[in-house]
């Protein structure tokens, strides 16, 4: 069974490849292709999604920051408004108390003022001045400094100019000894009574600026953002870095702020991108300006982008892991199959292929297994056929020198010679000689039908001596058939069969008739006898080999059938027609081949 390597499935010449080619073929492996494709697709999707998310989130972050800032400034604005309103109501209370007092220097007023002072921690001083700038009354009782320049201070001049309550910008109050305080002054022209006389004066309330300062200072817009306050004229009321602004180290672009009461915009006048939010205080006209640095929003963006980078890295790692595993899962049964097939290709047909895995691979493996099985079957069949053929040939060869036949024939010759029947002896020996010459045919297997018919005639001549003319025979053939080819010695076994089984036991004279003819490109040789005939079982048994002839040359009828099948194809061979007591007709059918073609067939056969 073990054939030499490469006998059935020789390795393709291209299968031994150079190193470079092997590398590139490795790169074309399913596993790598799946891995890379999977990776590329997933990475692309992840990147695209990330970019989209980034854009979306970055915008949202910016919007949120902006909104957040606006809310904070709104809140500050609200708080300041509330605070300023509080200052206003304190002022109103003070004014009411002063105007309602019959005399400005009554101790009752002092008491009331003191109560007012203690009610507000941020109230620094309450004082009334004459329009000429003379101090009338005040609390807490202070001594005024010299050189205050009061007449030119804005709270004083504004109060004199309008009858409205006026709020000053924060400034240093230099009126009273003991301290210099940053205050916001509220002032107004009022009427008061002194010794029963109605007079006009300026009421001044100083509020410590600390509260406003702290309210504003608390504003945290990112790490570096801040809020500042502008008065309606564009002077900076409060700025966390006011010193820097006065020193010229910082600059605020207040012009666009002054134009609007309520606005948010992006400002680049200082060289850096900044978000500006403006809100305006109702009572004082002060503008709260929130300043947030764009790069801090960018910081959020940077965080986001860092996160996305990490996210992408993690996704990529996961994708690589998954794709490597997945491709391994898919590729490994295929590789296993490939290895097994390679083993088969190298000649080991017994290699079992039981590869499990994907459905397709399993199917492929099963089909391949079936194919292999079929190959094995066919091979066995070929081997069997070869053996049978050789055995048949051997038998033919044996029959050619069948000693029993020779012995019988020679005995007949001797008997004829003893009786002095010289003519018959000559005929007998002649026939025997021709018989053997054709039998041998110089070792050729294929002879002409003419020769085959001659051969059988000589045989019949010899046999008719032996059977003492117990039968007659006739051989007829169409002219065009005679030059056709045939395998040799196909008629003898059939005729032998007819003689020994059909005619020998027959009480009457037997008749063997052989006709050869051409029909539809097929050669039909019919051997009929009028012998005993055969039962149907026997007929069926002959070709299947279950019925064996016990006498004769030993070259079985079946052997003839098989040889024809082998040479010309399975569809050709013998056909039996038999009736008990009537006789048998054996028809041999094979294609008619002119001399040349049969030679090819013969060559092919000898090669096998």
């Amino acid at each position: 069974m073990n054939k030499p390597r490469g006998y059935f499935f020789p390795l393709r010449p291209g299968s031994r490849k150079s190193g470079r080619l092997r590398l590139s073929s490795k790169l074309r492996s399913i596993q790598l292709i799946i891995t890379l494709t999977f990776m590329a697709v997933t990475a692309a999707v992840a990147v695209i999604v990330s970019i989209m998310l980034y854009g979306k989130f970055a915008n949202t972050a910016e919007e949120n920051a902006n909104l957040n800032m606006q809310q904070i400034i709104e809140q500050v604005n609200y708080n300041l408004e509330l605070y300023v309103k509080g200052m206003g109501s304190i002022f109103a209370t003070a004014e009411k108390q002063i105007t309602s007092t019959p005399s400005i220097d009554s101790p009752l007023l002092y008491e009331r003022m003191d109560t007012l002072m203690s009610s507000r921690e941020d109230l620094v001083s309450v004082a009334v001045f004459t329009p000429q700038g003379k101090y009338v009354v005040g609390t807490p009782g202070q001594t005024m400094r010299m050189n205050t320049g009061l007449e030119s201070q804005s709270w004083f001049t504004t109060a004199k100019r309008t009858s409205e309550i006026s709020y000053s910008a924060p400034h240093i109050q230099n009126l009273f000894k003991g301290r210099y305080t940053w205050v916001v002054s509220i002032s107004k022209l009022i009427q008061y009574r002194e010794n029963g006389e109605l007079r006009t004066g300026v009421l001044l309330l100083d509020f410590n600026f600390r509260t406003i300062d702290e309210l504003s200072k608390q504003v945290k817009l990112g790490k570096r953002g801040y809020a500042y306050i502008l008065d309606p004229l564009g002077n900076i009321v409060y700025h966390p870095q006011q010193q820097l602004i006065y020193a010229g180290l910082k600059y605020e672009n207040v012009e666009p702020v002054l134009e609007y009461a309520y606005r948010s915009y992006l400002d680049e006048s200082t060289g850096e991108k900044r978000f500006i939010t403006v809100r305006t205080l109702a009572q004082t006209g002060w503008k709260i300006v929130g300043v947030a640095y764009y790069d801090e929003i960018v910081t959020t963006k940077r965080d986001l982008n860092q996160f996305l980078a990490w996210f992408l890295a993690v996704v990529l790692v996961c994708v690589i892991a998954v794709s490597v595993f997945l491709s391994w899962l898919i590729a490994s049964p295929i590789r296993k199959l490939e290895r097994t097939v390679k083993q088969v290709a190298e000649g080991d047909l017994n290699t079992p292929i039981n590869v499990s895995g994907a459905y397709e691979v399993e199917q492929l493996s099963r089909r391949f297994n079936m194919m292999l099985q079929r190959i094995r079957q066919l091979m066995e069949q070929i081997i069997y056929e070869q053996e049978t053929k050789r055995k048949g040939e051997l038998e033919v060869l044996q029959s050619q020198i069948n000693p029993h036949f020779l012995y019988n024939t020679l005995n007949s010759v001797i008997r004829l010679a003893e009786r002095g029947k010289t003519d018959e002896v000559v005929t007998m020996i002649q026939s025997l000689s021709r018989f053997f010459r054709i039998s041998l045919s110089k070792g050729k297997n294929i002879i002409t039908i003419q020769e085959e018919l001659d051969h059988i005639r000589h045989y019949l001549v010899i046999q008719s001596f032996r059977f003492k003319n117990k039968f007659r025979y006739e051989i007829t053939a169409q002219e065009e058939v005679l030059e056709c080819q045939t395998i040799k010695l196909i008629l003898q076994p059939i005729v032998e069969n007819a003689l020994y089984h059909g005619i020998e036991m027959l009480p009457d004279e037997g008749l063997i008739s052989i006709t050869a003819g051409l029909q539809d490109g097929l050669i039909l040789i019919r051997v009929s006898d009028n012998g005993l005939g055969m039962s149907r079982e026997t007929v069926n048994g002959i070709l299947s080999g279950s019925v064996k002839s016990t006498s004769g040359s030993g070259v079985g009828v079946r052997n003839v059938h098989e040889r024809i099948g082998l040479y010309y194809g399975r569809e050709y061979g013998l056909a039996f027609q038999s009736e008990l007591e009537e006789g048998t007709v054996v028809t041999i059918v094979f294609p008619a081949l002119p001399a040349g073609e049969a030679m090819d067939k013969q060559k092919e056969e000898t090669n096998l």
């Binding site: 790169l27 692309a44 210099y180 010193q243």
Partner: protein, 340 residues
Amino acid sequence: MKSLRVWLTVLLCGVLWISVSSCFNASPAYISTSKTRNIHLIVKMNKGDYWNTLKLGAEAAAKEFNVNLTFKAPDSESDIEEQVVMVEESIKEKADVIILAASSYMGLAQVVDQAAYSRIPVISVDAEVGSAKVRTYVGSNGYEAGQKSAERLIQLLGGYGEIGIINFTNSSLTPDSGKTGSIDYGARDADEREKGFLNYAARFPNVKVVQIAYTSSSTSDAENLTREMLNKYPGLRGIATLNEIASQGAARVIQGLERDSVKMIAFDSSPSMMESLQDGTVQATVIQNPFSNGYLAVKYAVEALEGMDIPERVDTGTKLIDLENMLWPENQKLLFPFVR
């Protein structure tokens, strides 16, 4: 053919990845505030409005540029050794930058060289130090300040009369003769102011600087020196004081005398000085810009760390404040540090 396709895919992926990651990591161009720096600020003294305001300015910048500011100062302006020790400590603590207001021009020179040797940049603020390793000086021009003081005083005196000067320096070691020693341990700013004053006064033949007294860092010492001076020169018409401590001491004496005949030009702006200015004891005061000094020193320190080019000298200017302009809005902030 197939392998080519595979390689192309790989290449494409790579290019995509690089382009995406590079556009994500675009960094803006401004002073990076993402890194916290340790900057040590060592000034002459841990009290006084002047130094507090300077510290406020430094803190404002520290907040803006994400700086971790360490503030150090000896108890007294004349404590040179203590200041040297502080600089040495900062070197040991591996400060990123040391900002120094040197109490002594020469006394701190060596330790500054040492800092430079340890690759710590030194920025000097307010008062210079005798080292070539200093990256920049941030402060006022003392010489100019001295000239301003002299100009106003001589103007007030009508261009004639005896003038006394009370300066400050480390001359407590060698009182009254601080400039005679071979090594000048005085503070550079004091020196410069005095030089400026004297050079200006020298233009006026009728003006005579009769005495220059040096105070250590205490008002009572300054008071005593003023009293001595007034006793010694009864005809004294003008006094110039060249720092905050000296000014406070002298003002107190002159106010007590209730003597209008002595005109005084002070230095720096403590609240009590404002009070004296308003009640007419002091006619004017030369002020510096301590907030700007502190702020700019820290700002340039950060820029130096960023490897930016910084100017060798930053003059933050001086101003002469008198009763008239003391309440101008732009001066209020300088004179009265915002909320104390």
